[in-house]
Symmetry: C2
Subunit: 220 residues, 2 copies
C-alpha cells in the first residue's frame, strides 16, 4: 500500500535478506487477503513488494508455499492466550468477558477473519494443516465455554435449562451468527459488543432487561 516510496523514513542502509522476505510477505498478505489466491499473480506481489519476481521464488519455492506462509502470518494474532486474564471473577463475569473478547477480536480483525472463513468455505481441504489449526483454536474456545457454564450451573449462577454442552453450543452459534452478520453488514453497523453481551446474559442467566421504558439505549 502507501503510494510512493514506503520506507523512505526508515533508511535501509544494507539490504538484508530478512528484510526483503518480510516485504514480500507483507505485500502477499495484503494482496492474498484482499483478492484471494488465484486472483493474485506473483508479478503483482513482486510489484507491490518492489522486488523482482525471481526473488520471490528464491525465498519461496512455489506460490503455494508463499500462500501458506501468509496464512500462518495472518493466524498469529489469533494465538494470544484468552485464559488467565480473568482469574478472580466469578463464572458469570468470566463468561461475559469471554463473549466480549470474542466480539472485540472479531471486530478488530474483521478482514482477516473474513478471509479465513471465505477460504475455508471455498477450498474444502485448504492445505489441511491450517484448517486443523483453526479448528483446534475453535474447539479450545468452546471447551472453555462449556467448563465455565458447567461450573456456573453448579453454583446456580446459570440457567439449568440445558446441558452445559448444549448451552455452549447454542451460545457459540449465536456468536458465529453475529460474526457473519457483522462481516456482511460491515460498513453499515459497527457491531457493538455491549448489546450482544446483554442478549447473551439475558438468555444464559435469565435476567430481566428493560428495553421499553426510561433509560434509553434500546438493545437493538
Amino acid at each position: 500500500m502507501s503510494l510512493s516510496q514506503a520506507k523512505v523514513g526508515a533508511p535501509e542502509i544494507r539490504p538484508g535478506s530478512q528484510d526483503s522476505r518480510d516485504e514480500i510477505l507483507k505485500a502477499a498478505m495484503h494482496l492474498f487477503a484482499s483478492r484471494g489466491f488465484h486472483e493474485t499473480s506473483m508479478s503483482e506481489v513482486a510489484r507491490e513488494a518492489r522486488v523482482s519476481k525471481a526473488l520471490i521464488f528464491w525465498h519461496f519455492k512455489t506460490k503455494e508455499e508463499l500462500f501458506v506462509a501468509v496464512l500462518n502470518r495472518l493466524l498469529e494474532p489469533y494465538f494470544i492466550d484468552f485464559a488467565e486474564e480473568a482469574g478472580a471473577l466469578d463464572e458469570r463475569a468470566q463468561i461475559q468477558k469471554l463473549v466480549e473478547f470474542y466480539l472485540l477480536f472479531v471486530r478488530d480483525n474483521a478482514s482477516s477473519v473474513r478471509f479465513f472463513i471465505a477460504q475455508m468455505l471455498h477450498d474444502q481441504h485448504f492445505a489441511e494443516g491450517l484448517s486443523d489449526q483453526v479448528l483446534k483454536l475453535y474447539s479450545g474456545y468452546r471447551a472453555m465455554l462449556v467448563e465455565l457454564i458447567a461450573r456456573g450451573q453448579e453454583r446456580n449462577l446459570c440457567s439449568r435449562r440445558f446441558t452445559a454442552e448444549a448451552a455452549a453450543g447454542f451460545l457459540l452459534s449465536a456468536l458465529n451468527g453475529i460474526l457473519i452478520e457483522h462481516l456482511f453488514m460491515m460498513q453499515n453497523r459497527p457491531l457493538d459488543p455491549e448489546s450482544a453481551v446483554a442478549m447473551v446474559a439475558g438468555w444464559l442467566f435469565g435476567e430481566e432487561i428493560r428495553t421499553d421504558n426510561a433509560g434509553g439505549k434500546a438493545v437493538a
Copy 2:
C-alpha cells in the same frame, strides 16, 4: 469426448439449441460451485458439457455472463414462498415452523448455500445485483420473524425480555451460526433441526426443558 456415442440412453432426435445451452449451464453450475470462478476454465466447462468451447461463447458472450447465469440458476430454489403455508397456527407454532424451515432448507441446499456465502465473502461487490437479491431475501425472512414475534408478544406467547427487533436479530444470528457450523462440520454431524428448534423455543418462550432427568433424549 465421451467414448462411443454420448447419449445413447436418452435418444436425442433433434439437437436443439436450448438443450446444449442447458447442458453448458449444468456443467458450469457444477464446476463453478465446486471449484469457484477463477479456478474453473472455459475449456473445462466445455469438456464437462461435451461441447466445443466456441459454442459456450456463442451462448454466453463472456465468462462473467455465464457465471451470472449460473448464479441465477442456483438462486432459483431460494424463491419458494415461505409464507402462506402455515396460516391457522398460532404465532408460537409459526415461529417454530419458520425456524424449522430455515434449517431444513440449509440442510438440503448446503452446497449451494456454502457457495453463495463463500462468494459473497470473497468478492465484496460480487456482481452487485446478486448480492441485492440475496439481501432482499434475507431481510424478508427477518421481517417475517420480527412481525411474528411482535404479535406473539402482544398475546403474551413470547418472552418480552427484548424488543421484537432485538429478539429476531439475535434469533437470526443463532440460526446463521448454526448454519455456518453446519457448513464447516458438514460431514461430521448431520444438523438435526429438532434440537435447534427446542433451543430456540426454550429461549424465546421461556419454557422449561428437562435434560438431566428421566424422559431421555438429551437436547445436545
